[in-house]
């Protein structure tokens, strides 16, 4: 089983976001970057499938700056075999150019499965995985919470509003992973040491600029100051009254 996992370097979910002087990007100074949490599920699932198959290779691919090598190494420390960095200093917000670069790399790989996280927690875009699938004419199931693979076929479940869709597909296929699919393993010290020696291929790529221009980045409007209506159960009537007559939301 040959499996690719596409990953992204993103600010940690607890990071405070500061807009830089250009007003169009964030100030990365002092911000801790991590492997996109949704891709931890992708790496874990790939490793489990390889382990179940008894043989194979898990390749971690990322598009980004040199700093993304660290992100790839995190996945290698979890147990992936090798990494590929599509090195570019600018990732456009339009997902199409990124999807094209990844598709070009993946097309040559002969992968049985290609995993992505269902979204990246920085741009919150959920487009790259399904776009890559379309560009490669592969079946795709997005935001999966359960997966079975057997005899060259797969069955995945994805949550929808008020239910679960069950989708069947032949391999090769593209899957994007949701929380709940598995419990990602933590890299052990031995894994971290081994990861330093695993191959990581750096390829320079030139991405198209895409069709989206950033006009501005801004902080969300501050919420107007609220008030404590009271303490304990005695404050409940005042709260209900405020919701009904002041906020008019009941």
């Amino acid at each position: 089983m040959k499996i690719a996992v596409c990953v992204k370097r993103v600010p940690d979910s607890e990071a405070r976001i500061k807009i830089d002087a250009s007003g169009k990007a964030i100030d990365e100074g002092g911000v801790k970057f991590v492997l996109n949490p949704y891709e931890e599920f992708a790496v874990e699932e790939a490793l489990k499938l390889k382990e179940a198959a008894g043989s194979g290779e898990v390749v971690v691919i990322s598009a980004g700056s040199d700093a993304s090598q660290e992100t790839i190494r995190t996945a290698l420390a979890m147990g992936a075999d090798r990494g590929v960095l599509l090195k570019t200093d600018h990732i456009p917000l339009d997902p199409l150019p990124v999807a094209k670069a990844l598709a070009a790399e993946l097309a040559e790989g002969g992968y049985d499965l290609i995993f992505f996280g269902k979204l990246a927690i920085d741009d919150y875009s959920h487009g790259i995985g399904p776009m890559v699938a379309e560009l490669l004419s592969l079946p795709c199931v997005s935001a999966i919470a359960a997966l079975q693979i057997a005899n060259g076929k797969g069955k995945a479940e994805r949550e929808i509003e008020g239910g679960v869709e069950v989708v069947e597909f032949p391999l090769p296929a593209v899957l994007t992973t949701d929380k709940g699919l598995n419990e990602p393993r933590y890299p052990a010290l031995r894994g971290i040491m081994l990861a330093k020696k695993k191959p990581l291929d750096v390829k320079d790529v030139a991405l198209e600029t895409g069709g989206l221009d950033v006009l501005s980045l801004s902080y969300p409007p501050e919420r107007k100051a609220g008030r404590i209506v009271g303490e304990g159960a005695a404050a409940v009537p005042a709260l209900v009254d405020a919701l009904k007559n002041e906020a008019k939301v009941l």
């Binding site: 979910s13 405070r16 976001i17 949704y38 917000l93 997902p95 199409l96 927690i121 920085d122 741009d123 919150y124 875009s125 959920h126 487009g127 995985g129 399904p130 379309e134 560009l135 004419s137 592969l138 079946p139 795709c140 997005s142 994805r158 949550e159 929808i160 509003e161 008020g162 239910g163 679960v164 869709e165 069950v166 989708v167 069947e168 597909f169 709940g180 069709g211 989206l212 950033v214 006009l215 980045l217 902080y219 969300p220 919420r223 609220g226 008030r227 404590i228 209506v229 303490e231 304990g232 159960a233 409940v236 009537p237 709260l239 209900v240 405020a242 919701l243 009904k244 939301v249 009941l250």
Partner: protein, 321 residues
């Protein structure tokens, strides 16, 4: 003429309410460009189309076939992309639901065009301009779309549906497309259908202050009194008390309900990122210094085990009265 296509979502043959939001957003763009709004409904025979003119559809295109009653990603994407090409639409909009999040990027890839997900605002000012949250709402980005066509998904509850009567004439379109690559074979429904936290207009969320999964009965009771969805903090989802589908926050769902209750939730930055766009926020917490009070419109400092039963009772009374 620069027309806009609004891809409208149906489940079990009924048009979802979020489709009215998509029509409203599409109307803003079409009016700016001097064009029309055409709705596209893909579904089984007899899929409902009435009432769409009332929300601004000049025309409603219907692609119906028994095999399309439920969402089939490849077929739906093929039909939508064909319609965008045939109609030379300037933009195609869809709601950022489970279906829309899956469908929109596929359509964009087939059209080799820009895709913007989860927008909360659209306008036309010589070009299509959209605003969307990034870093889970810690910042907003405003983008100009400089290519035609484009595909945009619109976040649920971000756009208020506006009545805007247009003809809404219904026209059948050919059902295109061959064998799907992947096939939806079943849709499982839980015994008691829950309201989805991302779509609900009222959300009642509980956190670690509940002290144990069994105490979420108190949250469920209040949610039921309000006809609200149940939400949960990351801490309680990671502890296995609640399913991840209920998680609100940066690694869960980002919600914009009319009314949000944060109960026994301290207000970690990743949680605030997921709910700060709620119109009214109520916090109940025993710690008066909890960060959640900084974003709350109304707060009660106190023991939630005393406050919740009383609150549920008072809400029941208020709703009946």
């Amino acid at each position: 003429m620069p027309n806009v296509l609004a891809i409208l979502e149906q489940r079990s043959g009924d048009i979802k309410r979020v489709s009215h939001e998509v029509l409203t957003a599409a109307r803003v763009l079409a009016d700016g460009m001097g064009g029309e709004v055409h709705g596209l409904v893909v579904g089984g025979p007899g899929v409902a189309t009435d009432g769409l003119g009332a929300f601004g559809a000049d025309k409603v295109l219907v692609a119906s076939d028994a095999s399309l009653a439920n969402y089939q990603a490849d077929r739906y994407a093929g039909i939508a992309a064909d319609q965008v090409r045939k109609g030379s639409y300037a933009a195609a909009l869809v709601s950022a639901t489970a279906l829309g999040k899956d469908l929109a990027p596929r359509v964009a890839a087939r059209l080799a065009c820009p895709f913007v997900s989860d927008v909360t605002d659209v306008k036309y000012d010589g070009a299509i301009i959209v605003t969307r949250p990034v870093y889970a709402g810690k910042a907003n980005i405003t983008l100009k779309i400089s290519a035609t066509p484009c595909v945009i998904s619109v976040r649920s509850n971000a756009v208020t549906p506006k009545a805007n009567a247009k003809a809404g004439s219904v026209e059948s379109v050919a059902v295109s497309g061959g064998e799907p690559r992947a096939r939806t074979v079943e849709i499982k429904h839980p015994e008691r259908a829950a309201i989805d936290v991302a779509e609900a207009s009222i959300v009642v969320s509980g956190g670690r202050g509940l002290k144990g999964p069994e105490n979420f009965k108190l949250i469920e009771d209040l949610a039921s009194a309000l006809n609200a969805a149940v939400g949960a903090s990351r801490a309680v989802v990671d502890a296995g008390w609640r399913p991840h589908a209920e998680q609100v926050g940066q690694t869960g769902k980002t919600v914009s309900p009319n009314l949000y209750f944060a109960i026994g939730i301290s207000g970690a930055i990743q949680h605030l990122a997921g709910m700060r766009t709620a119109k009214t926020i109520v916090a109940i917490n025993k710690d008066p210094d909890a960060p959640i009070f900084k974003v709350a419109d109304y707060g009660i400092v106190g023991d939630l085990f005393e406050v919740l039963p009383k609150l549920t009772e008072e809400i029941r009374k208020a709703r009946e009265g």
